[in-house]
């Protein structure tokens, strides 16, 4: 508990939250940063302050770029609270819980920098032990130097290829890469190539990863259009189909990935308006050029406000910090704009390659909504695609009615693993756009907390 009111509270210590804290403290703001991880870094710089004993070249230079930022963050004088899950946000106050206890923090401005999470990839058998996300494989590698031999990597997107390359650099054998990027996507993406040239470093890095995987002689199957994880009590094999060919690979580890999506639960529960982003096939809080959300006391920065990568996340965190300082009267508008000019130029370079990447790695419809009825969509409540389709046919008109009819999205993950799938399923079945179909109503607490913590925080009512 703390009696002080912080000028700025930041939820999330990834690149966005860390950079915002450094900028804001330098402008004289009092800053509190809460993150549920035990150490700073967020997803990309996971474990950066606690090296897991890997050869530095395994993770590559993009990862080590985070070291200087993390060091500046830890030295910036903010009140950093690791192991603190923020589960409730009120006007001027938030509640957190964690292994070191919980409490409340009072603030004048709040920056939501909760980042992204992996897009659900609901294929048959994806709940079997042994099936994980590619991000999970990377987290185990980065933070714990822990790896699995002979895994099958399935899906599409830069993060998938990066993790495979990191495995190979670490000398770990990879059984196969089952690539679901359809060949048509390459044609579609070409259109965005000229505009992407200022972001050339992203494109050349991506090509480099694919070359690295090819040179290592890993089996790569392209144009995969169906996947099935098979096994009784745990994964035993991955079955795939690519047009007319199909096959099965025996393995006890499969890592799935088809891009990432903003982790919006906190912003939603806090009442921020959201917009559907058709290019990124995801919802994000509506923000202005400073990251200000529809709620005047709240900013959203980094990947939670739209997927743009680590460097863009840091830049947007800094822009929000400048805006907060100006809103609180610590700098004037001219000072804010002068400081922001260079950041905005850098941001334009970071964003140049996005349309190209979003088009190339747009997930296939077949992997967004399962075509097979008995595939589980909601992992928590074990609700299948068939049960959801039946509920729509029985009159469920949108994601929230679907939830009421089937319990889909009512488990502890609060729809994080099924929300995009359920909403896409409703939209497809009713012939609506996903933007029209909407999303689950999300209320506090955004993470299940022990009832004791709720009582201690004064029995906060919903929403």
């Amino acid at each position: 508990m703390s009696d002080a009111t912080f000028d700025l509270a930041i939820v999330g210590a990834g690149p966005a939250g860390m950079a915002a804290a450094v900028e804001a403290t330098a402008l004289g703001l009092s800053v509190c940063v809460l993150d549920e991880q035990a150490a700073p870094g967020g997803q990309i710089y996971r474990g950066i302050t606690r090296p897991a004993g890997l050869d530095p070249q395994v993770l590559g230079p993009d990862y080590w770029e985070g070291k200087a930022l993390a060091e500046r963050f830890l030295a910036c004088g903010c009140d950093y609270r690791p192991g603190s899950t923020v589960w409730h946000v009120d006007a001027g106050e938030l509640s957190f819980a964690g292994p070191h206890g919980g409490g409340t923090v009072a603030w004048r401005k709040l920056l939501n920098a909760t980042g992204a999470m992996e897009r659900p990839m609901p294929v048959a058998g994806w709940t079997l032990p042994g099936v994980m996300t590619a991000g999970a494989a990377q987290i185990l590698l980065k933070a714990s130097a822990t790896v699995a031999e002979n895994a099958v990597f399935c899906g599409s997107g830069p993060l998938l290829y990066l993790v495979v390359a990191q495995y190979l650099r670490a000398g770990v054998k990879v059984a196969a890469v089952l690539d679901t990027t359809p060949w048509q996507a390459y044609l579609g993406a070409l259109r965005h190539m000229p505009a992407a040239l200022p972001g050339w470093s992203y494109l050349s890095k991506g090509l480099g990863l694919l070359r690295e995987i090819g040179a290592a002689g890993v089996r790569v199957v392209r144009n995969v259009d169906r996947l099935e994880m098979r096994g009784r009590d745990a994964l035993e094999a991955v079955r795939w189909r690519a047009g007319a060919s199909e096959g099965e690979i025996a393995t006890s580890h499969a890592f799935l990935h088809q891009g990432i999506a903003p982790n919006t639960n906190l912003a939603r529960a806090a009442g921020c308006a959201h917009v559907w982003d058709e290019a990124q096939l995801s919802w994000r809080p509506r923000t202005d050029a400073w990251g200000a959300a529809s709620r005047p006391d709240l900013y959203c920065g980094g990947d939670v406000a739209g997927i743009a990568g680590a460097r863009a996340a840091a830049l947007s965190g800094r822009l929000s910090a400048l805006a907060a300082a100006a809103d609180l009267g610590r700098i004037d508008a001219a000072g804010r704009d002068a400081r922001a000019a260079g950041l905005r130029r850098a941001m334009r370079r970071e964003l140049a390659a996005r349309p190209f990447l979003d088009t190339l790695y747009r997930p296939l419809p077949a992997f967004r909504v399962p075509a097979v009825d008995d595939v589980v969509v909601c992992r928590c409540e074990e609700v299948t695609a068939g049960a959801l389709a039946d509920a729509v046919d029985a009159g469920a008109m949108g994601p929230n009615q679907l939830k009421a009819f089937t319990r889909c999205g009512m488990g502890p993950c609060q729809g994080r693993s099924c929300g995009l799938t359920a909403a896409a399923l409703v939209a497809a079945r009713l012939g609506m756009s996903e933007g029209e179909a909407g999303y689950f109503n999300i209320r506090f607490p955004v993470k299940p907390v022990p009832l004791g913590a709720v009582a201690a925080a004064g029995g906060k009512p919903a929403g």
Binding site: E36, Q37, A38, Q43, R50, A52, G53, L54, T85, P99, M117, E118, T127, P129, G130, V131, M132, T133, G135, A136, I139, L140, L141, A143, S144, A145, T146, V147, A148, E149, A170, V172, D233, A234, S252, N263, R379, C380, E381, E382, M410, G411, P412, C413, Q414, R416, S417, R443, F444, P445, K447, P448, V449, P450, L451, V454, A462, G463
Partner: protein, 107 residues
């Protein structure tokens, strides 16, 4: 099976997993230690009793829940090991206790 690429640090601490002692380094991620120890499944689901193991490793999916130091519904992927920590498999129904917190939001 997961394995470590790092040369083991000494001195190691120990946690007790289903009555078995597992050596690990201070501050390591609990789910990673459990995966390397071959612990599994971590839990069974309340609905069908299906076995589950960590899926996301970042606090999103809740498939890594186990009973840690007697506390059910602990997200092992967000927990650091401590000397003498005890871990048990979580069988379906104990999830009910903490779903009560969700109920608070759904009333």
């Amino acid at each position: 099976m997961f394995r470590s690429l790092a040369t083991p640090e000494t001195p190691a601490i120990g946690i007790e997993v289903d009555g078995r002692r597992i050596a690990c380094a201070p501050g390591e991620n609990l789910a990673a230690v459990l995966l390397r120890a071959g612990f599994g499944p971590f839990r069974s689901t309340p609905v069908s009793g299906a076995p589950r193991m960590p899926y996301c490793m970042m606090g999103v999916c809740f498939d890594c829940l186990a009973v840690v130091d007697g506390v059910p519904n602990s997200q092992t992927c967000l927990t650091a090991v401590a000397d003498g920590m005890t871990v048990r498999r979580q069988e379906g129904a104990s999830a009910a206790a903490f779903l009560a917190a969700e109920g608070l939001a759904d009333e």
